[in-house]
Amino acid sequence: MTILLAILALPLLALLFGAILGYASIRFHVDGDPIVDQINAHLPQTQCGQCGHPGCRPYAEAIANGEDINKCPPGGEATIEELANLLGREVLPLDAEHGEEKEVKMVAYIREPECIGCTKCIQACPVDAILGAAKQMHTVIVDECTGCDLCVEPCPVDCIDMLPVETTPQNWHWERPKPSVELIATSHQPHRAEVLS
């Protein structure tokens, strides 16, 4: 009799807890961002393709499928760290194969008198930031340019320059002060190489 009771009790309990769990999973369901969107949000959206993918979103998809997180030169170390945090992966140094992190943001400029109006750069631009038509002069909408470099290669007359974004009184900001130890003259100034070694 007791065995029967025990046998009965166990499935009942299982049912009960199963029901609770099932209810909880519906009741407290969280609509999280799909991981690809979250990864994409951390990528710099230059759409430069230096990672080997045609744009940031495809790379985000590849990362979600296990690709390394260190293939984005425009994002650089900061992006790698963010992605490592997000995905619980290890921080890797930037993969030099895909390019180097640039210090300053660049934008493309077309030397307009030299432009022959071939539209090749227009087709290459991933964010439609170049205006123009066949046999007409082209120009870059600077505010839309992500500085991805992709228009430079296709230009048959090499009339596109990548120039650093100009600092104006509007976008200028104060710099952080230098650490004071560097300001003090000392015979024992630690060299960078020494510190790194």
């Binding site: 130890v181 003090i184 003259a185 000392t186 024992h188 630690p190």
Partner: protein, 354 residues
């Protein structure tokens, strides 16, 4: 003409770190004078020796860290650590005791953690605790204060010789005696009235000499408060909580008694701790309310350890334990920023704004 391109503010207060440190050293003078009067030259000799050791250690570490020497020695912080530790050591502590204590304080407790401003624990308290745990006998060998059963502190040469035995033997035997706090703790079932005999070490309120030493440090502390070198919250909270604890658990003058509030306020390292050690800003809590909590915690712990712990005095332990808590206190006790509902941006705050 060359115009300096510097950022505002262009105007600065005249105070600087070394000035703060110098003021702290100056403020120990009344206490130092009382200690020297009641316990003799040993106090001063110890102090000078501690300074030498501290400066030496500081110089060595700064050299090893390849930092500019003058810049770091100029802040006087090593001297403050040495002063506070030197004042807490027994008057005739052997030279190696000071060397170990101060060396540990400067090298391990201060510089291994990143130097001035980065150490999580008060170096003087760390040095003192290391000595107390490692060398309990030497650390509890106090001289009887001047006036206890006719005791007179030894002279300069004798003190010097007993601190540095290499210089020869002292001409008189040095008699040591437990401190009043120690005696209170070690009494075998005696009532307070029984051990509080006239002529004993207990004096009027809190031990011959000790009363004056503590009053000396109190005066120095008030001077620091007056000069706005320290904030009132920590000493007031600490002395307040110690007073409250000793009133609650007083227990009268029987064998169960734990001594009067006045006894606890004026004996041992109470005042030195309240105004000089606990107020070390580097290792204390930083907000006003945080300082109150921090100080009160130290006061409670001092009493708890003195009365129910196994050590007669507890200032250093209490300070170190609260040093542990300081970051936590700082995290939870934050002032409300202007224009916000809470200390730092929480979600509710943001939704309230939008």
């Amino acid at each position: 003409m060359k115009l300096a391109k510097v950022t505002s503010p262009h105007l600065h207060d005249r105070s600087d770190t070394s000035h703060v440190m110098k003021m702290v050293i100056v403020a120990t003078l009344p206490g130092l004078a009382a200690l020297s009067w009641f316990f003799g030259w040993g106090v001063l000799i110890n102090l000078v020796w501690a300074w030498i050791v501290a400066l030496g250690c500081e110089a060595i570490v700064v050299k090893i860290r390849k930092r500019p020497l003058g810049y770091y020695l100029n802040d006087y912080s090593a001297l403050v650590t040495a002063t506070l530790l030197g004042l807490a050591l027994p008057p005739l502590a052997p030279w190696w005791l000071t060397l170990v204590g101060v060396g540990f304080a400067i090298i391990v407790a201060k510089h291994l953690y990143g130097g001035l401003g980065s150490n999580p624990f008060n170096p003087a308290a760390v040095g003192y605790v290391v000595l107390l745990i490692s060398f309990p006998v030497q650390m509890s060998s106090w001289l009887p204060a001047r006036g206890v059963e006719g005791a007179i502190p030894p002279g300069f040469i004798d003190s010097l010789k007993s601190i540095f035995p290499l210089l020869g033997n002292a001409s008189v035997d040095i008699v040591t005696q437990a401190t009043p706090l120690d005696q209170l703790k070690q009494r075998p079932g005696l009532t307070i009235t029984e051990i509080w005999q006239p002529g004993s070490a207990f004096g009027r309120f809190a031990g011959v000499g000790w009363e004056w030493v503590n009053i000396g440090f109190l005066i120095g502390g008030l001077f620091l408060l007056f000069r706005k070198i320290i904030y009132w919250q920590i000493p007031v909270a600490m002395l307040g909580s110690l007073t409250v604890m000793s009133i609650i658990f007083w227990g009268g003058s029987g064998s169960e008694g734990h001594g009067s509030p006045l006894f606890h306020l004026l004996s041992g390292a109470t005042m030195l701790c309240a105004f000089f050690i606990a107020t070390d800003p580097v290792t204390a809590a930083t907000s006003n309310r945080g300082r109150l909590i921090y100080g009160a915690g130290i006061g409670v712990l001092i009493y708890v350890i003195r009365v129910w712990g196994s050590y007669p005095d507890a200032a250093a332990f209490a300070v170190l334990l609260l040093n542990f808590c300081a970051p936590l206190i700082d995290y939870y006790v934050q002032p409300r920023t202007y224009g916000h509902n809470s200390g730092h941006n929480s979600d509710s705050d943001r939704s309230g704004d939008s």
